[in-house]
């Protein structure tokens, strides 16, 4: 499939201009994650200090869960919000009538997701280390495949969110924020899958992020790197990625056929 890195870089350049022109936009990337970190951080401190020995030291996985969840969330937001920015500024038609392939447009939004994750992750990692003594680097080299799998799944959720917004219009734009939270209760972010009712567990295990959060808790508890869990996450991401790409393409065909693409772009 032909692919132009120049096109992708031009689309990303727009976001670089946007964020460097409006430093206030960084607040969106930093403020909410920091609030989350403070809440979960202080809860962790409370459980460690006042749990009368009931909670192990590894209760810090709450902080780890929060940070890794944010990686997934920011990655999804990079894709979905980038699309919405084009809708909000009535620029979508200009982009869709420019020589931009769909795959290049999606790749650019994914790259924006990576940049957003990068900024948020650095800030959270530093604050977590300074304020709570939680060192993300304790996850060692395992951290890299953990992050990669979460970012991949975030992209795929972003593609699904974008496809739904294209199909249902701006009335559905809250999905850009809601979609990740549909799966959060099942994703084992803050508790193990075993806590879920038995009938929900297979659904939870079908999510690529579940083995990552399970794996993070294992590593923080001193167990070796769970390669099997990582393999599982990667394979699930392959399946989810294929489904998300199919869903996105099918919806794009539908909105082109029904004229909804133009409606979304001009209303």
């Amino acid at each position: 499939m032909p692919f132009s890195f120049n096109t992708v870089s031009a689309l990303v350049l727009r976001y670089v201009f946007l964020y460097t022109r409006h430093p206030v936009r960084f607040i969106e990337l930093i403020f909410w994650p920091l609030v989350d970190l403070l809440v979960w951080g202080f809860l962790t401190v409370y459980l460690q200090n006042h749990g009368a020995g009931e909670f192990p030291a590894t209760v810090t996985f709450l902080i780890g869960g929060m940070i890794l969840w944010d990686v997934l969330f920011r990655s999804q937001q990079g894709v979905a919000i980038s699309f919405l920015e084009d809708v909000w500024t009535r620029n979508l038609l200009n982009v869709f009538v420019a020589p931009v392939r769909t795959v290049e447009y999606v790749a650019a939004t994914c790259l924006v997701g990576v940049l957003r994750v990068g900024v948020t992750l650095i800030v959270l990692a530093v604050v977590a280390a300074l304020a709570y003594g939680f060192h993300l680097a304790d996850l060692g080299l395992t951290l890299l495949p953990f992050l990669a799998n979460l970012m991949l799944f975030g992209w795929f959720l972003g593609m699904v969110s974008t496809a739904l917004i294209m199909r249902w219009g701006q009335a559905a734009e809250s999905l850009a924020w809601a979609v990740p939270f549909f799966i959060q209760p099942l994703a084992a972010v803050f508790y193990p899958v075993a806590v879920l009712p038995v009938w929900l567990q297979p659904i939870a295990r079908a999510l690529p992020c579940t083995p990552i959060f399970e794996g993070m808790r294992a590593v923080l508890s001193g167990f070796p790197t769970p390669w099997r869990e990582l393999q599982c996450a990667f394979l699930l991401n392959l399946v989810w990625g294929s489904l998300a790409a199919w869903f996105f393409a099918a919806n794009l065909r539908h909105v082109r056929k029904t004229g909804l693409l133009v409606k979304v772009a001009t209303h």
Partner: protein, 251 residues
């Protein structure tokens, strides 16, 4: 001109949305250097036709060839050589004018983008807006910046959707004169939709009047007026809108 190989050829285009037929077998072509006006009352099918030609909507049936190439098989290759401006789209309001133009210059693969941007800003008499925030521009300024974007890649075919809507008569006149000048200098072909009959009379060599998704009339503005025995193009438009002309035209 009618014998030249067409820049754009639409062949029996049909577009059906549910129970409604927006375009019913529309066929037309644009010759190199020609400027064609697409006219019609609201709901006639102009916007649908424009969206099909831009590849934003897929036709129910029919074929579009631009530069002799099938639009859906060579979409990217074609889009590199055409451009579009509409009163209903805008560039991101939160960026500076030069930033927006730089992004689109790169998307269209324009060599020496800053030089091209400066040339266009000068041509459109908006050099002073280079560092302005796009969202703070007046309607007239915004239209000219959109036109600058549409001219970045030196398109062979320019599709303009009501480009002078919301412009005061002075700016609208300047835009029309500029388009005529560009056409004379570069051999640009233009497809132009407008509700402003003066635009069509001044800019277009030929017009197609759509009604109910079909071609009601075709020819130079003078030919159309004469055929329907109307005093002006505007008079013709009003006659169609009030149902006085439809029966004659579709016979």
């Amino acid at each position: 001109m009618p014998h030249a190989t067409p820049i754009l050829q639409a062949d029996r285009l049909v577009k059906v949305f549910g129970d409604s037929t927006a375009l019913d077998g529309l066929s037309f072509s644009i010759a190199p250097g020609e400027s064609l006006g697409l006219l019609g009352v609201n709901g006639a099918g102009k916007t649908t036709a424009m969206n099909l030609l831009l590849g934003l909507t897929t036709p129910t049936s029919g074929m579009i060839r631009i530069f002799g190439l099938d639009l859906w098989k060579h979409r990217i290759e074609i889009l590199r050589q055409i451009n579009f401006s509409s009163a209903y789209t805008s560039l991101p309001s939160n960026l500076l004018v030069w930033q927006n133009l730089t992004v689109f210059a790169r998307l269209y693969g324009v060599p020496r983008p800053q030089q091209r941007i400066d040339t266009l800003l000068e041509l459109l008499d908006i050099s002073q807006l280079r560092k302005a925030v796009t969202g703070t521009l007046s309607a007239g300024e915004s239209t000219r910046v959109n036109l600058a974007k549409a001219l970045l890649n030196e398109p062979r075919l320019l599709l303009l959707d009501e480009p002078t809507a919301s412009l005061d008569p002075d700016i609208a006149d300047r835009v029309r004169k500029l388009l005529r000048r560009l056409q004379a200098e570069t051999g640009l072909s233009i497809l132009y939709t407008s509700h402003n009959m003066r635009d069509i009379e001044e800019v277009c060599d030929r017009l197609i009047f759509l009604h109910g998704g079909k071609v009601l009339a075709e020819g130079t503005p003078g030919e159309v007026q004469a055929r329907f025995n109307r005093t002006s193009l505007e008079d013709f438009f009003i006659g169609v809108a009030r149902g006085e002309i439809e029966a004659i035209g579709l016979q």
